[in-house]
């Protein structure tokens, strides 16, 4: 499980940078699975999949394209791109980007959670 502590977040976006480096091999914060949303000049908000219960994204998908096996999985054959999953998620954990056909989300970096490792203020932590 992942927990966020938004009032420790400085908005440095190192999590976005490392997430895109780990998944895309380049620096592309807008393709990151974690997002720091800023409403300038207000405080930042941290958006990512918190592996919550009871996973409203899975229930919210009308096609049954989402499932859980250690982290959220998507069946690209079934996904129609309706994005109801994104609407169902209260944590902003489901991302989209123009260059990608399907929604994408945290896959735990093989359990390594690079964002947790690199966050300088420990505003993203593992709880178990």
């Amino acid at each position: 499980m992942i927990k966020t502590i938004p009032n420790l977040c400085t908005g440095c976006r190192i999590c976005e940078i490392i997430c895109s480096l780990a998944h895309e091999g380049s620096i592309a914060p807008k393709q990151s699975r974690i997002r720091i949303q800023s409403a300038w000049p207000e405080e930042e908000k941290i958006h990512l999949c918190l592996a919550c219960e009871p996973k409203p994204c899975i229930g919210g998908c009308p096609e049954g394209a989402l499932s859980w096996d250690g982290y959220l999985r998507i069946d690209e054959e079934k996904c129609t791109g309706c994005l109801l999953c994104r609407e169902a998620c209260p944590y902003g954990g489901i991302q989209t980007e123009n260059s990608k056909k399907f929604p994408f989300f945290c896959d735990t970096c093989q359990g390594e959670f690079q964002c947790v490792k690199w966050c300088p203020t420990k505003s993203i932590i593992r709880t178990k």
Binding site: T10, G11, I27, P41, T121
Partner: protein
Amino acid sequence: MKAEFGGYAGKILEVDLTQGRVKRTSLDPDLATKYIGGKGLGAKYLYDHLPLGCDPFGPENLLIFATGPLTGTLAPGSGRCIVSTKSPATGFWLDANCGGSFGPEMKMAGIDAIVIKGKAPSPVMLLVDDEKVQLGEADFLWRKDTFSTHRWIKDKFGEESRVACIGEAGEKRVRFASIISEMRAFGRGGAGAVMGSKNLKAIAVRGHCPITIAYPESFMKACREAFNEIAIHPDSGGGRQKYGTNTILSCMNEAGVHPVRNFQKGIFHGRSALNEEEIREFYVRNKACYGCPIYCSKISKVKEGKYKGAFVEGPEYENVWSFGAHCENADIPSIIKAEYLCDLYGLDAISTGNVIGFLMECMEKEVLEESDIGFPLKFGDNEGMIRAIHLIGRREGPALLWGEGVKRIAQEVGRGAESFAIHVKGLEMPAYDPRGSTGMALAYATSDRGACHLRSWPIGAELLSPEERIDPFSIEFKAEFVKNQQDLFTVINSSVTCLFTIFSLSLRHIVHFLHSVTGIESFASSEEILQSGERINNLVRLFNLKEGLTKADDKLPQRFLTEPLKDGPARGRLVDLETLLKEYYFIRGWDEKGVPTSETLKRLGLPSENQNDKFPKYQNT
């Protein structure tokens, strides 16, 4: 060149405001290899393309926003962007540097630099959305403050758009107007006034292009190591995270180099300088620039009293000084308010505080009278100070003159005011008294953009570094130290990362970043990289010489040469600049007039066709 090198976007966006045309050109790979990016790129462009002796406010002046290969990457402090132009304050070279996210967003929009020339017939904004670039009308934003301008642009083009804009001060060509990007500033030297002279209110960028890394594994390893070093260092992982730039406040004050009353004294006894805890009480949260683990920025708010509602990203050490000790003002809320207003109007807070402190001394010495100012502006009067900032920001009434900066006010006022006009080459001085630091004396005198603490900062080694401490009063080794640090800082400002990483990191780290990000072979060599820094500094020197700079401009204000400091550890001291300068020129490979010798230019691979010219003095406007 995208396929060739990592880190770079490979494109330059050229904007001609007179013609209303924009085009993308390719970044020359040789230029990148030789000048890295950022300041180096700006230096090469200005040296090659700026018409000799041009008016800084003329349409022919160039305004260049440039990133470097490290901008936007994971290298610590990679959120910065450099603007280069001919300064309206000095008439010489200017590069000013801003954190935040503007630089990284430029890179993600696929451009390494934006080169702006000409003048729009009416106010415009430049909008960059990946490949789509347009000039939009901005009449309705003219006279709007920088925060309202940000809000309008972000509401219209999306919260993720990154903005750099000017306020009223830039529009009215205050010679120390800044360019503001999300509560941070391209602060010094009047780049905001150049932008105003071009009728360019704002630039907004948004991009989705990934930044490629040549050797990702090597790069991530270098970053991991750097992050660890930053976290355990007492400055970057301690004081700077806790207090921001004010971490040095009481140390500087106790050393007697925290100037009071326009550099009349060196120790301030007011609340604003006694202890960094006093300032810290106003901090509400930490803030970081893009990609920075140091988070030295603090959001401060005034929650009660007559300055209630003011908030800043800061207040930074320099402004706690410029609106504090410099004006003999101990009231912290008024300092926050002052910095807040500087952000809104788009004013450089160092120079603004300097101008007000100078006016206060003019009143004290009866060089000016109350009727000249319009109200009693005495040392310690923070209400008068705030009033003066409004006038300067709007450039109204007596501030028509004040907006010209200390040098020109003193020339206009006369009556001996020049003897206490504190500036070098026309740029007002930051918060370190050179009589208590021979290193800073030389750093100020030789800085390419006038009195500046960010070309080299020897006072750090003189007063703050326990392991490698050098004597602040001795002149030994100072020339060598300043020269080497200037070259290193120029490497950082060309790469581009933040100077605040250099207290815990070293050239070795920068070189590792540069090589693993770009894949350029010569970037693997510390010697070659440092020589690039030296090359850029010499090119900037050539630029300044072409623009009429002589040895007489590498000077300090008269006060430091003739009036001994009155208090503190540096009491009774003056600066022996001549000896320092002579040694510095020699170490730089410059002749006794401060001109790079033909051997030096040849060694650095710089054009030497100008070496025998007389460097005609052009009249600066």
